[in-house]
């Protein structure tokens, strides 16, 4: 097991390198650069100077070499847009906020989603199945950019229980976590129900029942192990995405998190910022997919042999 983890972490390096390279060239291929603006720089000399500051006057090949060299030293460079700031600093400032929101949302999503999915699968085709599943469908259909404003309008502006925007007190965490968590809860509920139904019809569950194991033990010990596999596979990238921040939710609730930097950096063509956030996200993805693989092995002991 430990060997597997160590190997996977080692393999992360080439993965990150490929991601960095692809991102680097995708950015350069994209129309519009960091210095393109409405009133463009008229003077060619000034433009050249500006490019030179960021090492962008060199041929693409040597720019790439510089980039990789700096990357190897953990230096993501200065942000183009946020003058005077290093990409490392910006990420360090924004990530804890997104991560906190992500954890809260994940908690909401898991609690609601797993409970709803389990109940629905156990009481298949009853009211307790239809009701949570209908809610889940609505949760899926109502995107966060609708849910967020709806929650703000009712709980902040009508009832005045929460702030309409901002990220200062604990209370500011509640609405965004519900918005973001709610969307994921709906997924988890549907996947849990689907996975559980699949497993509960399997022969070994019937065998366990026949052997006289208590229903609770059958469900928790045997059922969940197989039934949660799809949820776990889904949760890997989902958790990485949640921790890295959601652009929509962060915009709606005015949260200064990483999710906004992702999208805004792309729009600003803030090259260093884009590569920085992408590599950061890639690390999260690799980490969480690794965790998923470990959990999958744990859930399914037969996989341990491989």
């Amino acid at each position: 097991m430990w060997k597997l983890i160590a190997f996977r972490l080692l393999k992360a390096i080439p993965v990150l390198l490929i991601v960095a390279t692809l991102t680097f060239f995708m950015l350069r291929l994209t129309k519009g650069g960091p210095f393109d603006q409405e009133k463009p720089i008229q003077d060619e000399a000034i433009r050249k100077q500006l490019l030179a500051h960021y090492g962008m006057d060199k041929p693409l090949g040597s720019q790439y070499l510089d980039f990789i060299t700096n990357l190897a030293q953990g230096d993501l460079g200065p942000s183009f847009k946020h003058q005077g700031r290093q990409v490392n600093e910006v990420i360090a400032e924004a990530f804890p906020r997104s991560a906190e929101l992500g954890l809260w949302s994940l908690a909401v999503a898991m609690a609601l989603g797993l409970a709803a999915g389990l109940i629905a699968s156990l009481k298949k085709n009853s009211f307790l199945d239809y009701c949570p599943m209908a809610l889940a469908m609505i949760g899926i259909c109502v995107p966060t950019f609708v849910m967020g404003p709806l929650l703000i309008l009712s709980f902040s502006l009508e009832l005045e229980w929460f702030n309409a925007s901002g990220w200062n007190s604990f209370k500011d965490r509640i609405l965004p976590a519900l918005t973001l968590g709610g969307a994921y809860a709906a997924y988890i509920a549907r996947l849990t129900r689907g996975g559980m139904l699949e497993v509960l019809s399997q022969d070994y569950i019937r065998t366990a029942h026949a052997k006289g194991a208590s229903p609770a033990r059958v469900i928790l010990h045997h059922g969940l192990r197989g039934g949660l596999l799809p949820v776990v596979a889904f949760l890997g990238p989902a958790a990485a995405g949640l921790l890295a921040g959601s652009f929509v939710v962060e915009t709606i609730f005015q949260i200064p998190g990483l999710g906004r930097h992702f999208v805004e950096a792309a729009f600003n063509r803030d090259y260093t910022m884009v590569t920085g956030t992408v590599l950061f996200f890639a690390t999260l993805i690799i980490l969480f997919n690794l965790i998923v693989d470990v959990v999958q092995i744990w859930l399914n002991p037969r996989l341990r042999s491989t």
Binding site: I46, S79, Q83
Partner: protein, 496 residues
């Protein structure tokens, strides 16, 4: 987003920087006329070329140093240093030899028209009389910067200098930088060293960078912000009915227009361009899309810009004449008219405008137009490379003078992008720059704009207004043409 006045280029930045740094002059809170700032008085030579500014003795940087004439000269030297690559450096090009130094042709800064006579006196020599010179001084490109701090935190010509971060920032304005969290808040506090600190009433100002207009409106409604930057269009009627006193619509120095690519067929035909312009019902646009919050534009320069109002025949909605012109150009009833496309940057407002104009052209001229939206930076590139037929555009004046709207249509005008080129026009504008009197200058502008409106390389649609929400507690927040609101006068008092 940055706070270095010699590097930033945006309008929002101005709002913050103007709280932190003060130029030679400041603005009157009501009409933005120049008032004594760091300079307590100034005089100008007879020919209008040499300006002498006398700095006040109690003008201080926030670290306690005195603001001297040398500070200004060094600031302008940095601004013009080619290796800084400052994008607004051209604002200083009215000064003698500034352009030459900026482009690196001139190495010796002492030949540029800035001279510190002593600590208190700064002389500026212009290359030509510039009637709007004093209003230029309120643009942040003319603000002084604290050179020792800049040197300490990265060097003169490093755009990623860290001197603008809280703790490092040294300014001479009514407020000092206290906190700056990206995407969250910028907090400025009342400065204890500002010369006119008695006037300053606010203890702190919090600037919230909110990117979404709906989010901003909700924050305003729940009392989290006192003044908003803008208001969603669909909320205008709501506020008019319920909270009219909170809604402000101020004249603003900007024009919304469409560029027509005069290098492409059939737009190279003046009659086609004119037909397109005449077939747009501006009145309907202003009423239905903008809820009468903007003014129809029949020309490019907003009325009253630096004392100038276009007197020529206003562009009217005249579908009959438009159809007639179109058929004269060889497209009777729109037949045979190629499928042109309107380029705009992704935004709901621009999309709506394009959809409406598309319908107007279809109905009035019988021509089919295609819409093409592009992401902002792609759109900029496409427009600037002139790879479009018709392209949405807007222009916000840098300073309140007609020149800022008219000199971009020069043949080599940096922001022309329409292919429009007229020797006569070029001559009128350059004559205006050297006009003997203010009246003669304005007459030349009139002629130039009339010529422009006859050629119609652009299709004016409406004049911008600043539309925003304001809490009635906010006092001394006056409507001004540049949407500047000198913060040192602003205060909060319970609503009446």
């Amino acid at each position: 987003m940055g706070l270095d006045p010699q590097i930033v280029t945006g309008v929002p930045e101005h709002h913050i920087i103007s709280a932190l740094i003060e130029g030679l002059v400041t603005e009157n809170k009501k009409n933005l006329n120049p008032e004594p700032g760091t300079a307590e008085r100034w005089e100008t030579s007879e020919d209008g070329l040499v300006w002498k500014f006398h700095l006040r003795e109690d003008a201080k940087w926030s670290n306690g140093d005195r603001v001297t004439a040398t500070d200004f000269v060094q600031s302008y030297q940095r601004m013009l240093t080619p290796s800084l690559g400052s994008q607004y450096a051209y604002m200083l090009h009215v000064v003698k030899n500034a352009e030459a130094y900026n482009s690196g042709k001139l190495k010796d800064f002492s030949q540029v028209g800035f001279k510190a006579i002593n600590d208190k006196q700064l002389n500026i020599t212009l290359k030509a009389p510039t009637p709007y010179f004093l209003s230029l001084l309120n643009h942040y490109s003319w603000f002084p910067v604290h050179i020792p701090s800049i040197k300490k935190h990265g060097g003169i010509d490093k755009p990623d200098n860290r001197w603008t971060l809280p703790g490092n920032f040294v300014g001479n304005g009514p407020f000092i930088l206290d906190k700056w969290e990206i995407n969250k808040v910028i907090v400025v506090k009342k400065s204890p060293t500002y010369w006119d600190r008695k006037t300053v009433k606010l203890e702190e100002i919090h600037f919230h960078p909110i990117s979404d207009v709906e989010v901003e409106e909700r924050a305003f409604r729940s009392g989290q912000i006192h003044v908003s930057n803008t208001i969603p269009l669909n909320k205008i009627e709501v506020y008019r009915k319920k909270d009219a006193e909170k809604l402000r619509i101020d004249t603003y120095l900007g024009t919304y227009f469409y560029r027509l690519n005069t290098k492409r067929k059939p737009l190279d035909d003046k009659r086609v361009r004119m037909a397109l312009a005449l077939a747009v019902d501006r009145e309907s646009i202003v009423r239905n899309i903008h809820y009468r919050t903007v003014k129809e534009a029949g020309n490019i320069t907003p009325p009253g810009t630096g004392g100038y109002t276009y007197q020529g025949l206003p562009l009217k909605y005249d579908p009959d004449k438009a159809r007639q012109l179109l058929s004269e150009a060889g497209f009777p009833g729109g037949q045979g008219f190629p499928k042109l496309s309107v380029l705009y940057n992704s935004s709901e407002q621009h999309r709506r405008m394009a959809e409406v104009i598309q319908q107007m052209w279809k109905k009035n001229l019988g021509i089919e137009i295609e819409l093409a939206n592009e992401e902002w930076k792609v759109y900029l590139k496409t427009s600037q490379e002139m790879d479009y037929d018709i392209s949405r555009a807007g222009w916000i004046g840098d300073y309140p003078d007609a020149n800022t709207f008219l000199d971009m249509w020069l043949t080599d005008g940096g922001n022309n992008y329409t292919g429009f080129s007229s020797v006569e026009y070029d001559k009128l504008i350059s004559d205006a720059a050297n006009a003997p009197s203010v009246e003669a200058r304005l007459t030349l502008f009139q002629k130039a704009e009339e010529l422009l409106m006859n050629e119609m390389p652009i299709l004016p649609i409406y004049f911008y207004t600043a539309r925003y929400l304001i809490d009635p507690q906010v006092r001394e927040w006056h409507p001004t043409i540049l949407n500047h609101h000198p913060y040192k006068h602003v205060y909060l008092a319970p609503a009446k």
